[in-house]
């Protein structure tokens, strides 16, 4: 089954990208055609034409509304005249080619040929008028009904043989814009399929695995005890986790220039996921990409590029070409995170797999539709009955003091204001953040919340006991330095207090772990997931204990810790 989903770009990205908000609705199950007794190229052209024809049927009225407008009721019940242009089509690379009517091994959004995929500069965009003119030319050269002949003409014009693209009469929809960058496939999967592969080819999978396996385990973060080099497939989450590790673990095992190239690519992927972009971040984004291209030759000379038949000496990777157009896309379409296919992959489970399991697996399409139809009816009925039973208005006015998580879970928040004590099924319940807990310690700038357990793990230890327990002989002078308030730089990185210095206290409460949560530095309404930081004392099973690394920025913005690699045990008094 090939599901086609639709949503509104007006809905805020944070909400739209949550599967629980039901901002994406299923509009069609497209057929996946298998033609009998035809050659491969003919099969491809016919399948592409079926795709465009089917989408045209579904979108017919939207195209009319894009041109003429259509009166619609908005979420508050007011009527508005609405136009519905096509603004984004979330798809992976093969589907992007299919949608843009481009032949394979071309770029769906630019005029680049495969030999130009590794170029350090963008090619001109493949605009709507260019593609439509090419199709027209192909039709004058050969008959579109003679598929085999039309295939050759299309190939020479870099087309896929579709004559009537569904976007041709949908306002001014231009594939070079509406084919938006897809974070999941273009960056995260690319990173795993290429960047990590380069590192493995150069340093050897065994060494990479060893370096990953000796990293300290952290709660809530995947630990790579068995490495990655033999894994074929990972989840998007794991791809993202690896991006945070790879540049650090390859240092020293690959030539410096290779490390620079991979670091630059990582930087590019991190920067591209910003919630907001401005001229400055767009500039550093293109600089990161430029840096990668500057150093990329070293990956080939170190033997990093390898195909099935031995070493490769080029970078003909379509996703590298797509990366060249990200700044253009951001200015036109907004931050790319909102066009990631994470949400459509997720909807594949809720809109295809789950309904399919409810069927008897025969002629299941119709059964799936009926299932979804009933489910949707129930969803609204449930909301309606809750609102009616509370004699509440059917119009949602979000209260100003609504907590921060509320922004991304409008339905659950609405219900919880009406039924504060009841568990409401079928909506994602917003996880309470540490910022909302009374016991949390919140930083003065309200950006960080820290939560400790009520009772310390080691209450009321004397300093000597604590220093023995944690094998930290210089605990007393270290505490003295901390209390003195002198920064690391002022102390020249040395202990200033004497080992027997006197402190104003004699006992400590020691916690072995705490939970910490941060607000996004870009948008303080967005809260990152909570993390657990551990500092476990040495024991027979863990001879060195465990101390998670923490980077602490001083109010002045300077780092207190001299290097990210310094091992720090965290104590709280």
């Amino acid at each position: 089954m090939h599901p086609l989903l639709i949503s509104l770009a007006n809905i805020h990205a944070g909400v739209r990208m949550k599967a629980t908000s039901h901002a994406f609705s299923l509009v069609a199950y497209l057929p996946i055609p298998k033609f009998l007794n035809v050659s491969k190229p003919v099969q491809a052209i016919l399948a592409a034409r079926v795709y465009h024809f089917a989408v045209s049927i579904v979108m017919k009225n939207l195209k009319i509304a894009a041109r003429d407008g259509c009166p619609m009721s908005d979420p508050r019940g007011d009527m508005r005249m609405v136009h519905t242009p096509l603004v984004s089509w979330i798809a992976d690379y093969p589907e992007q080619l299919l949608v843009s009517c481009t032949a394979s091994k071309r770029s769906p959004i630019s005029l680049a040929l495969s030999a130009q995929f590794g170029d350090p500069f963008p090619q001109p965009p493949r605009t709507r008028s260019h593609t439509l003119a090419s199709i027209e030319r192909a039709c004058t050269i050969s008959d579109p009904c003679d598929i085999a002949g039309f295939y050759r003409t299309s190939q020479s014009l870099h087309l896929n043989g579709v004559v009537e693209p569904f976007w041709g009469d949908w306002g001014d929809a231009c594939p070079s814009l509406f084919l938006t960058p897809d974070a999941l496939h273009q960056w995260h999967k690319f990173y795993f399929d290429h960047c990590i592969r380069w590192a493995i080819n150069i340093m050897g999978g065994v060494e990479l695995d060893r370096r990953l396996s000796v990293l300290q385990p952290r709660i809530g973060v995947r630990h790579w005890a068995n490495g990655v080099s033999t894994l074929k497939q990972l989840t998007g989450r794991e791809h993202r986790d690896l991006e945070k590790l790879l540049p650090a673990v390859i240092i020293g095992a690959v030539p410096d220039n290779v490390a620079c190239a991979i670091r630059a690519m990582t930087e590019f992927i991190f920067q591209a996921q910003n919630l907001f972009h401005c001229d400055e971040t767009l500039h550093s984004l293109s600089e990161a990409l430029r840096e990668f291209h500057h150093y990329k030759a070293s990956i080939i000379s170190a033997g990093g590029r390898r195909g099935k038949n031995g070493p490769l000496n080029h970078f003909e990777i379509p996703k590298l070409e797509l990366a060249q157009h990200i700044t253009r896309s951001i200015r036109a379409m907004g931050a790319p995170y909102q066009w990631s296919s994470d949400i459509t992959e997720r909807c594949h489970i809720t809109h295809v797999k789950r309904p399919y399991r409810m069927t008897n697996h025969r002629d299941f399409h119709g059964q799936c539709c009926r299932f979804l139809d009933r489910q949707e009816k129930l969803q609204f009925f449930r909301l309606y009955t809750v609102l009616k039973s509370q004699q509440s208005s059917l119009i949602y006015e979000m209260s100003r003091e609504a907590n921060t998580m509320a922004l991304h879970y409008p339905e659950a928040t609405w219900i919880s204001t009406l039924l504060p004590d009841e568990e409401y099924v079928n909506t994602g319940k917003p996880v309470a953040s540490l910022f909302d807990k009374g016991r949390s310690h919140i930083s003065a700038d309200d950006l960080i919340a820290i939560l400790l357990t009520c009772r310390p793990h080691h209450p009321h230890l004397s300093i000597e006991e604590a220093s023995q327990l944690f094998h930290i002989p210089d605990l007393r002078p270290a505490l003295g330095d901390l209390i003195s308030g002198k920064s690391y730089l002022e102390r020249n990185g040395r202990r200033v207090c004497r080992p027997n210095c006197s402190l104003s206290f004699g006992h400590l409460h020691v916690w072995q772990k705490f939970r910490i949560q941060r607000r996004s530095t870009q948008d303080s309404r967005v809260i990152s997931p909570a993390q657990t930081v551990q500092a476990l004392p040495p024991s027979s099973s863990m001879p060195f204990g465990r101390g998670n690394t923490v980077l602490i920025a001083h109010e002045s913005g300077m780092l207190l810790s001299p290097a990210a690699s310094e091992r720090m045990c965290i104590f709280y008094m």
């Binding site: 033609f35 579904v58 009225n61 907004g334």
Partner: protein, 114 residues
Amino acid sequence: MQTKNNPPSFNTAKDLRARIEQLPEVPRWYHQQIKIGSYETKEPLMLYWRDGLDVVKHLFSNPVFASCIDFQPFQEFEADGQRAYGEFMSADLAWEIQVGGPAMMSAYRYNDSL
């Protein structure tokens, strides 16, 4: 006790399903066969679909989204005057569609379907 005093309003699964079917309509499903000339396919090409416009209307009228929907394009600026690009409605395309549309259109507000 609860169920005894307040018996459910249905007796059979079929009855319950029939009641669900009676609930207010959501965009309805259609199906149709697609034929491409004389080419034969392994299975008939069936398209199961809903009218895109109906679905958009349905999404747009969902009261849940009242607090998180933009009705018109806008531009955001950082404190130092730099343009910031975040939500779709804050970027150039939405703005250009609004500005560049036919004269009659600009009198209305825009909605953009994905």
